[in-house]
């Protein structure tokens, strides 16, 4: 084990990267699931080990190929990306665990192995984005994850999954190209692609207009990737029509990695204060965040399909993360990180529960939900708790996020922002309540109901996450500390 210690960061990529081709070679559904599961678990432990290592001995720097940065590519893992890495890896395990029963319900036998290959590749991509210390390398792994996400989305049963995947592909490619333009401009000014190096060299050239334009392009490109309002157009359909397990996995991981990169680039690489000093830039982010939170939640209220409803809800929640980021203080960024973690937990749980609903009833529309509270109490309760968490009811993780975000806003004396954040909860409550009324209070007491709960193999992963949701809602010490450390890492990168 000790021999492995210096290589933990590389293993995080190597394991899924070896597993993906193996899935192509052994094309039996069960075997591929097994490979994915084993690798998922190993990667989770690995990610946790990385987090521990970062906390005990500081930033991990790993020069790939033995070439020191900025000549080679390096991994650079500090509190921030180690935390995100843990989130992604753990959610991934639950996603795969859930997929075992969920996927065969939606996909023909011969396509399952391809799905797991794409899944592992997507996971590789997300890990790669998270731990990389090189801006161009981020692009490469962003594309791995994006391409495999398009593939994953296209596996959906509805034919609209295909158009959703294609539209995502087009928008996603434009986004990636924007990002490439941005880092190209930065490269033209500094001659380097390494993040730490960029952070050092950029202050000398801040006077150039080019920096601002590069900032703009990177911001827009990544905003699309993280589905920040108004660049969210690809997300609702992609989430709604992807297979349920995939939606659950993506909701908890894909946008999270993008948000992390966004924070890293905007707050760490751009010279200290570039973002915070540019009042317009951060006001725009704040405005966009608030607007996103309100508009997306309102749209969610009018959706009749649960998957669409909660997909829109994701866009709204990303708005909250943007608000924390836009505050550009360590408390604000900590709130964003905390919400990143909490939202991953709750949204994955909700989408998993919706998947249970699909397995049990064959539909995810609100109409199919009547009496669900009695027919499938566990599934409904899972969605309910996830929903309450989204609103920010006490004893759930959502409450903790709101608390941190409001405190962060108050710290800057932005009481109006704090009030808006809380008011946003009410809009969230509106659509969550639409679900509650349908599932629990639109009961025909005359008709007898038959219990048709989803299989245990689906309920167990769902409920582990639901319970985690409550646990981290009551005991937020661990997550709060981690988030604060992560935020400090985002700000203290160059030192």
């Amino acid at each position: 084990m000790n021999a492995l210690t210096p290589h933990l960061s590389a293993l995080q990529i190597i394991l899924p990267l070896l597993a993906a081709p193996l899935c192509t070679i052994f094309r039996l559904p069960r075997v591929t699931w097994g490979i994915a599961m084993v690798v998922g678990v190993l990667c989770s432990f690995n990610a946790i080990a990385i987090l521990e290592q970062v906390q005990s001995s500081g930033t991990i720097i790993y020069a790939l190929g033995g070439w020191a940065a900025p000549w080679g590519i390096e991994y650079r893992i500090d509190d921030a990306n180690a935390f995100v890495l843990v989130i992604i890896s753990v959610i991934n395990v639950f996603g795969i665990l859930y997929a075992r029963t969920s996927i065969p319900a939606e996909l023909s036998e011969d396509r399952i192995s391809w799905l797991y290959t794409a899944w592992l590749l997507c996971f590789t991509g997300l890990c790669g984005i998270t731990i990389s210390g090189d801006v161009f390398n981020v692009f490469v792994f962003l594309e791995i994850s994006s391409l495999s996400t398009y593939v994953l989305v296209s596996f959906g049963t509805d034919k609209r999954a295909l158009t959703a995947a294609l539209r995502y592909l087009i928008v996603g490619t434009v986004a990636a190209t924007f990002y490439v333009i941005g880092i190209g401009l930065l490269y033209a000014l500094t001659g380097t692609l390494n993040m730490a190096d960029l952070a050092q060299r950029l202050p000398e050239v801040t006077a150039h207009r080019t920096v601002l334009v590069a900032f703009g392009f990177i911001t827009v490109g990544l905003s699309i990737k993280m589905a920040l309002f108004p660049f969210h157009t690809w997300l609702p359909n992609a989430y709604a029509f992807a297979p349920n397990a995939v939606t659950a996995f993506l909701a908890g991981t894909a946008t999270k990695a993008a948000i992390y990169v966004f924070m890293r680039l905007v707050l760490t690489i751009f010279p200290a204060g570039f973002f915070a000093n540019s009042t317009i830039a951060y006001l725009i982010i704040l405005a966009v965040g608030i607007l996103g939170a309100f508009v997306a939640s309102t749209i969610a209220f009018f959706r009749q399909d649960l998957k669409q409803m909660f997909a829109w809800s994701s866009i709204g929640q990303i708005g909250y993360m943007a608000i924390g980021l836009g505050l550009a203080t360590s408390a604000g960024v900590a709130a964003s990180f905390l919400h990143l973690f909490n939202h991953a937990l709750m949204k994955t749980a909700v989408f998993m529960a919706i998947g249970c609903l699909f397995v049990a009833t064959g539909s995810t529309t609100l109409n199919s939900l009547k009496n669900a509270g009695k027919r499938m109490p566990w599934t409904s309760a899972a969605i309910l708790i996830g929903g309450l968490s989204l609103i920010g009811i006490p004893f759930t993780t959502g409450f903790v996020s709101k608390w941190y975000l409001v405190t962060a806003a108050l710290e800057l004396d932005m009481w109006w922002l704090a009030a808006l954040v809380l008011a946003g909860s009410l809009v969230t409550a509106a659509y969550v309540w639409k679900f509650v009324e349908t599932a629990y209070f639109r009961t025909d007491s005359n008709t007898t109901y038959t219990r048709s709960e989803a299989p245990l193999s689906l309920l167990i992963p769902t409920w582990i996450l639901v319970i985690a949701n409550i646990y981290f809602g009551i005991n937020a010490q661990f997550t709060g500390t981690q988030a604060l450390r992560a935020a400090n890492a985002i700000f203290g990168f160059s030192s």
């Binding site: 391409l147 593939v151 295909l162 158009t163 294609l166 087009i170 490619t173 434009v174 190209t177 333009i181």
Partner: protein
Amino acid sequence: MTTFLGLLNYWVVIALMMTGLYIVIAASNYIKKIIGLNIFQTAVFIMYISIGKVSGGTAPILTGQPEIYSNPLPHVLILTAIVVGVATTALGLALIVRIRSAFGTIDDHDVRESVNE
């Protein structure tokens, strides 16, 4: 004049990017959109390579004699980017073929109409 020549490459590249992005958004046919995407990306490739060009330089293949070489790093980056581009194109086209089977059309406008019905 030096400014003109010094930045001409970038300007043309910008015009190409604009054309590409315009096609991506304006075109209603999926294949046309993909072509637009390719034009957009290729324009970015030219931008990168232009950044790496050194006047009087040659291709960065060492000959042993002291010479001025162009910057090899953008070349490497763009090699990767080209591959990513073709991968995206291949996947996009495959999706289009499937969409044709499922919807009977590869026109965004028609697809939207058929879904709304």
